[in-house]
């Protein structure tokens, strides 16, 4: 009997979208685990090619993972030793530093509003610039006194959780194949090949997504750093990397990154508004490059989703789980799509179910053979 080619119906698709939304809702409750696990997955897929190379060169998986992890720690350690002192020297007293950059950004915004007031009389009558300055100054002063302590406490509370990431990544690398075999061992023979395909697809989707995300981050960081360097802005590479990492959060991340660079430009180059507008234009340009060239070349290839579904899912993710939902919506949907289609295939294949029942019958007969 030749099996019919299976295509997912509306029920399966509804289950995929519903399942993704439910998972997003549940995952935001265990953020302390989700964030380090995501970072661990990023590290895992970053280091996996090197580990595979060493295994194929004849090393045991344990030795290959230990060696690659040690090398990664050395690289990160050297990077911190090189960059941290210069960053610390640049930042100096963080409170003054934060206040200086907030003040610079505020001055830039008020100047821009005053220019607008000069051209639009109704804005001048409403004293938009003065009101905005007063509101933001009040917010900033109350924020610093009321919430900065809480924010620093949150960062301190999150640090041990984030330190889980390299620990998790090490065990993902070392025990990942063993865990996959362990999972497959529990699957009955009739469903074995379908499960093999399912796990390979989930792995492929996650690998392409996270490796795509890393490539996208590198491309974004390089483009932004080059643009900022051409504009003559200080620390272009650091700003490029920071803003590219912020862009992992769809929409909000890019806006935050842009705001960060405008703050730096407005403070380091006071009065040069054209430079701040140049930085904003650069962000818009990189955003467009991202959406139309880089994203389809990197992440877009991995998920093969309809653009409408992608945008819809990002909005659903945001509504269900806030910023976490925005970040997790697409990778989770990718994995749920693979799972949904595979489970749909298995449930809708009577031949597989019949084979499983037949195998159970044969085994039962064998077990009871000498009991008759």
């Amino acid at each position: 009997m030749m099996p019919r080619r299976y295509r997912s119906g509306p029920l399966v698709w509804l289950s995929i979208i519903g399942g993704t939304s439910l998972l997003l809702f549940l995952l935001q409750k265990v953020l302390w685990l989700v964030v380090p696990a995501l970072l661990a997955l990023l590290i895992y897929y970053l280091l996996l090619p090197a580990v595979r190379r060493l295994i194929l060169a004849g090393m045991t998986i344990e030795n290959a993972v230990t060696l690659v992890s040690l090398l990664a720690f050395v690289v990160i350690g050297v990077g911190l030793l090189v960059f941290f002192p210069s960053l610390a020297a640049r930042v100096g007293n963080w409170e003054d530093w934060l206040g200086r950059y907030l003040d610079g950004g505020l001055t830039f915004m008020v100047d821009a509003l005053r220019q607008l007031e000069g051209q639009l009389s109704f804005l001048a009558h409403a004293h938009v610039a003065d009101n905005a300055r007063a509101a933001i100054t009040e917010f900033a002063s109350t924020f610093i006194t009321r919430h900065l302590g809480d924010a620093l406490m949150t960062v301190a509370a999150w640090t041990p959780s984030l330190l889980l990431a390299p620990f998790l990544a090490f065990f993902f690398l070392r025990d990942g194949p063993r865990f996959k075999k362990f999972l497959i061992r529990a699957v009955p023979n009739a469903y074995f090949e379908r499960t093999l395909k399912l796990l390979d697809e989930v792995d492929r989707t996650a690998r392409l997504y996270f490796q795509g995300l890393l490539k996208l981050t590198v491309l974004d960081a390089l483009c932004l750093a080059l643009g900022l360097w051409l504009l003559g802005i200080s620390a272009p590479l650091l700003l490029g990397v920071l803003t590219a990492v912020l862009a992992w959060v769809p929409y909000i991340g890019s806006v935050l990154g842009c705001a960060l660079v405008v703050l730096v430009v407005a403070t380091d180059f006071p009065g040069q508004t054209e430079l701040a507008y140049g930085a904003i234009s650069l962000f818009i340009l990189v955003r467009l490059l991202d959406d139309f060239i880089f994203m389809p070349l990197t992440i877009g290839r991995s998920l093969r989703m309809h653009p409408l579904l992608t945008v819809l899912m990002i909005f659903v993710g945001g509504a269900v789980a806030g910023v976490t939902g925005l970040m997790l919506a697409l990778p989770l949907l990718g994995v749920m799509m693979v799972l949904g289609e595979a489970v749909g295939q298995i449930v809708n294949d009577p031949r597989l179910r019949a084979r499983h029942r037949h195998a159970c019958r044969l085994l039962n007969q064998r077990i009871r053979a000498d009991l008759r």
Binding site: M1, I55, L56, R185, R194, L196, K197, H358
Partner: protein
């Protein structure tokens, strides 16, 4: 703990060495293949895969015997694969559906390498790829010779 693998092969690796597909591999290469292996147990009479299914792996007979059947009523036994043999390679090589049904004739212990792992192995390790490819070519040549002999009219 030494950085490189110890030299002694495990029992399963020794069984792998006896499989014609891997007979040209050295011990380090056998360990790489062993690392990719899923072990499955089948009861006599149990279907391993059906004709028309999408092939997801190559099967190595570590113990037991497997029959290859052409679908039909009654099914026609085309071949049998005993300990040390392998099957399921055609759909992996041709990226095509399975052409026949595989069913355990005796209780079997099979090693399975998934499509992704098998093609990944061939893509990333030139030495293993060339040795496995040579054995696969010999195996397919043998199958061709068998079918040519079977098709020749008897005098």
């Amino acid at each position: 703990m030494p950085l490189l693998r110890p030299r002694r092969l495990s029992d399963r690796q020794q069984q792998l060495a006896a499989i014609s597909l891997f007979s040209l591999l050295d011990s380090a290469q056998l360990r790489i293949v062993d690392h990719l292996l899923h072990e499955r147990h089948y009861t006599a009479g149990e279907v391993i895969f059906d004709a028309g299914e999408e092939g997801q792996g190559i099967y190595l007979v570590l113990q037991g015997e497997v029959g290859i059947f052409r679908p039909g009523e009654p099914p026609l036994r085309l071949n049998s694969v005993a300990t040390g043999g392998f099957f399921g390679e055609l759909s992996l090589l041709g990226d095509a559906p399975r052409v026949a049904q595989a069913r355990a004739i005796k209780d079997c212990r099979l090693g399975v390498i998934s499509r992704a792992d098998f093609t990944g192995l061939l893509d990333t390790h030139a030495h293993i790829a060339s040795r496995i490819s040579l054995q696969l070519a010999r195996h397919l040549g043998g199958l061709l010779r068998q079918s040519a002999m079977a098709a020749r009219p008897q005098p």
